[in-house]
């Protein structure tokens, strides 16, 4: 099959970007979207042109490095997957495909389709942890956790930090990302000691990084490749409120 791409190209953070079109031939159904881009890049290199820069690494949906806006949707047309898990069998022969980077003020473009998401690291370092040093901790089984709680904590902890929630939100809010971390730790007995401070610190850090406010549109939940529920946002709101009252 062949596809027609319209790809965002931008030399660096300071330059203006623009769309460039490419026709890619000999695409097969079992190729991943990235393998299709690899093929195009290989051709561009041989023609002495600059290949398209995009972020990726594990190519199996877990490292959170990849993230493209494809035909107006974060991580492409399917639900519950990352861009690297998208295969060409999801597109028709002759399809027009528009490819853009995540667009959010807090995620400046570095080049072409690559953005800077280090804001997420700064949010986590503001308190997305349990303050224990290495060594001197109790035996693991002295901290029982009811299975349903452990499972729910896991559902939140599964966030891969890809930023699709931010990219898809009209306010560029990072609420789902922050909620996932707050929820994961608030559900576990180990996380109780710093529970309140954590909620306050993470929300403050999020605001400082220039992410927008959450207006509960729920778009994030739909595009989150790990299908993290906005139930966690509700929990974050409660946690934040409780913490602010004291």
């Amino acid at each position: 099959m062949q596809v027609f791409l319209k790809v965002w190209r931008q030399a660096d953070a300071k330059s203006e970007g623009q769309f460039v079109t490419y026709t890619v031939e000999n695409v097969t159904e079992d190729m991943s979207f990235f393998e299709m881009l690899d093929m195009l890049n290989n051709q561009l290199v041989l023609k002495g042109k600059e290949p398209i820069a995009f972020d990726h690494d594990c190519r199996e949906g877990i490292c959170g490095t990849c993230g493209l806006f494809i035909n107006g949707r974060a991580h492409g047309p399917l639900r519950g997957i990352t861009t690297c898990q998208l295969h060409m069998r999801s597109f028709d022969d002759g399809a027009n495909i528009v490819v853009e980077p995540w667009r959010a003020e807090a995620f400046p473009v570095i080049k072409d389709l690559i953005v800077d998401r280090t804001a997420f690291d700064r949010i986590i370092s503001a308190g997305g942890y349990i303050s224990v040093n290495t060594g001197g901790v109790p035996d693991a089984n002295t901290i029982p956790v009811p299975k349903p709680k452990a499972d729910e904590a896991f559902d939140a902890a599964t966030c891969i930090g890809c930023g699709a929630c931010v990219a898809t939100c009209k306010n560029s809010s990072a609420m789902l990302f922050v909620a996932a971390k707050v929820s994961h730790l608030a559900l576990l007995p180990q996380g109780q000691v710093e529970r309140k401070q954590r909620a306050l610190n993470l929300v403050a850090a999020m605001d400082m990084e220039g992410f927008g406010a959450c207006t509960n549109t729920g778009a994030c939940e739909i595009e989150c490749p790990k299908e993290i529920s906005i139930v966690h946002i509700a929990r974050l709101n409660r946690e934040f409120l409780k913490a602010s009252l004291l």
């Binding site: 030399a11 097969t28 079992d30 190729m31 990235f34 393998e35 690899d38 093929m39 290989n42 290199v45 041989l46 600059e50 290949p51 820069a53 972020d55 690494d57 594990c58 190519r59 199996e60 949906g61 877990i62 490292c63 959170g64 490095t65 898990q85 295969h87 080049k111 690559i114 800077d116 998401r117 280090t118 690291d121 370092s125 997305g128 942890y129 349990i130 303050s131 224990v132 290495t134 060594g135 901790v137 109790p138 035996d139 693991a140 089984n141 901290i143 029982p144 956790v145 009811p146 299975k147 452990a150 904590a153 896991f154 902890a157 599964t158 891969i160 930090g161 730790l185 576990l188 180990q190």
Partner: protein
């Protein structure tokens, strides 16, 4: 130089305790005067950075990733071992030690492996305290499962995302130290060389991947935790960017490279489907707990799997290995799968696959049970192949997965370059000729949380701090070398892409230095690889400049190193005239096609010393002495 592994004396079970007492300590008030560079922030690097910073050292941590959470450790699925014996099924530190030594086919150091088993329990405690959401039983306590090469259940897991949860734990501890100002993180910075001052590792040269800036960093010691080199094969289960550059450049600066040919080929991966494929995806070995491996008895049987009646299926692992069945170690399972395909029993469009079937367990325990346990793996499989594994058996085939080889380190995890420490998959330490499942996560975290914090102190205490700065001559010369190399890569301006050449290298290695090796093939590889290297330096095309974000340039530098490493792997495989673990030499096998070790001649670690590119490396041997286990032929029957 004589290789001194610095194994402490005394009985096995007391070595580490005694050694910790004998190691010199750095006064708490002095720790903040020492600077430590850590290259790599996966499980090994992030855990080391956090632990050392907590002790008071100043840490500069580097990664070519944008965040520690992107490291390849994130992809580990199945689990992490520990000798907790929670299930009360007979596990102990000694049994974990024994299984690991045996699983590694007696090619690892007793003292190191024992220490690994000894600290394994503390890792689980640490991770739980950090909030890692391990799987739990209904009573609220931790759940375990079994894994290949063991008859006890000692594997802790977090659905099929154990590596992710462990890495997020280590990353959170790391992030906390970033906040405390004790860890300075340099994202998207690639180490391109090691700097020696008076023979000691005192710094690194990095390239900022965003703008191309080359910079020097000085410190009192350097730690490499840069992961494995499985991507030398192009196709592997590793992340796309995983590479050998950090350890390879250190090798060229004098660090010995140990057992480079010990590669693990994992038995359960999704088979290759097209020539454009960029990577292979692992289906966790934990699936072998509940899935049954089979092929049609009839050669070339093209019926759909569900149309092949029970009596016409060969559950060959259960047949050949009645006591371990589907849970034989990886090297054995991989080789048997290859053998089935080589003899015409392979399935799927290419004939290079065997079935992994869940019909039985779905019948016994229900679809929900299976999906709770393996849901994400089943989804992943369906995403890639377009087939539903709840209904049709999975097709699997072996793929390159892990490298047991790596930089040689002594008991203190220090390489042959003083002041250069190596952790995690980047070193060769604990897995011998074959790694057991769920043991790499254990090793990476053991190295980072519980070993390096002690052993690096001994080195630092014995060497005065703060004498190095980046104005010294060796930083300048090394910087020039790095810049020249980048310019050379850009200057070739040939007609082949980096990927094309990398794929060719992968084909050579898979064919001749892969699952089964022989003299003739290895000698051929030793001709082909240098030729390909020549082609690379004449024909490669790298667009753009060194002063900007340039992914092709990054890849080119890594592939240039792979082209040298591949040759060393072939040389090592050729010299080792025996079969052991993942190293299977066709000339050396038993009548039952099992690996035939030669303990008389080869019970040693092969540590190679660089002699110049294109020159044969020089072999040094660290003889392995076994005082606590008897060297037997592994039998999983």
């Amino acid at each position: 130089m004589v290789l001194d592994a610095k194994i402490p004396g005394g009985p096995l079970a007391e070595k580490w305790t005694q050694h910790r007492f004998d190691l010199k300590l750095v006064n708490p008030a002095n720790k903040r005067k020492y600077n430590i560079i850590i290259v790599g922030t996966g499980l090994a690097g992030a855990s080391a950075a956090a632990s050392l910073a907590e002790l008071g050292y100043n840490v500069d941590a580097f990664s070519y990733h944008e965040s520690p959470r992107r490291a390849h450790s994130i992809a580990a699925q199945g689990g992490i071992n520990a000798a907790k014996n929670y299930p009360n099924d007979g596990d102990s530190i000694f049994r974990l030690f024994y299984d690991t030594i045996k699983g590694g086919d007696y090619r690892s150091r007793e003292a190191n492996v024992y220490r690994l088993a000894e600290v394994s329990n503390a890792i689980i405690d640490q991770c739980v305290a950090q909030g890692v959401p391990f799987a739990r039983e209904y009573g609220g306590l931790l759940d375990n499962r079994s894994f290949g090469g063991a008859q006890v259940s000692r594997t802790f897991y977090a659905r099929g995302q154990t590596g992710q949860q462990l890495l997020l734990g280590a990353y959170s501890a790391f992030a906390r130290q970033m906040k405390a100002g004790k860890v300075r993180f340099h994202p998207r910075h690639e180490m391109l060389d090691l700097v020696l001052v008076d023979g000691h590792a005192k710094g690194i040269i990095t390239r900022n991947l965003i703008n191309g800036e080359i910079r020097s960093y000085a410190a009192d010691a350097v730690i490499l935790a840069s992961g494995g080199y499985g991507n030398v094969f192009f196709l592997s289960t590793n992340a796309m960017a995983s590479n050998a550059t950090a350890i390879w450049r250190a090798y060229k600066k004098g660090a010995y490279f140990a057992n480079p040919c010990f590669t693990q080929i994992h038995p359960t991966c999704i088979p290759l489907s097209s020539e454009h494929q960029s990577k292979l995806t692992l289906m966790s070995e934990s699936l072998r707990n509940d899935g049954r491996v089979w092929v049609p008895k009839k050669k070339g049987d093209s019926r759909a799997p569900n149309d092949i009646p029970e009596e016409e299926r060969d559950y060959y692992l259960e047949r050949i290995y009645p006591s371990f069945g589907n849970l034989v170690p990886r090297d054995v399972a991989s080789r048997r799968a290859k053998e089935m395909c080589d003899t015409g029993h392979g399935v799927g469009p290419t004939g290079l696959a065997v079935y992994l079937d869940f019909e039985d367990v779905i019948g016994r325990k229900g679809k929900q049970w299976v999906s709770d346990k393996y849901g994400n793996l089943f989804d992943m499989y369906q995403q890639i192949t377009g087939e539903n594994p709840y209904e049709v058996p999975m097709r699997i085939y072996p793929a390159v997965h892990y490298t047991m080889g790596g930089l040689w380190v002594d008991y203190n995890l220090m390489s042959t370059v003083p002041g250069l420490f190596v952790l995690g998959e980047a070193n060769f330490s604990d897995h011998g000729a074959n790694r057991l499942g769920a043991s790499a996560l254990m090793q990476g975290l053991a190295d980072g949380y519980f070993i390096i914090p002690y052993t690096i102190g001994d080195y630092l205490a014995k060497h005065p701090h703060g004498k190095t700065d980046t104005n010294q001559e060796s930083f300048k010369t090394t910087t020039r070398e790095v810049e020249e190399k980048l310019n050379q890569l850009l200057a070739v301006d040939g007609s082949q892409t980096v990927d094309d050449i990398h794929k060719e290298l992968g084909r050579i290695l898979w064919e001749y230095v892969g699952m089964a090796r022989n003299r003739e093939g290895l000698e051929k590889a030793l001709k082909l690889i240098p030729q390909l290297r020549e082609t690379f330096w004449k024909e490669v095309k790298v667009p753009g400049t060194a002063k900007e974000l340039n992914p092709e340039l990054e890849k080119a530098g890594r592939v240039a190193d792979f082209l040298e490493l591949g040759e060393l792997m072939a040389r090592d495989a050729l010299h080792r005239e025996e079969s052991c673990g993942g190293h299977f030499r066709e000339e050396y096998q038993t009548e039952e096609n099992e690996a035939l070790r030669d303990d008389e001649k080869f019970a040693y670690v092969a540590a190679w010393e660089f002699q110049g590119t294109g020159e044969p490396a020089k072999l040094h041997k660290e003889v392995l002495i076994f005082e606590n286990v008897e060297l037997t032929t592994r039998s999983y029957k």
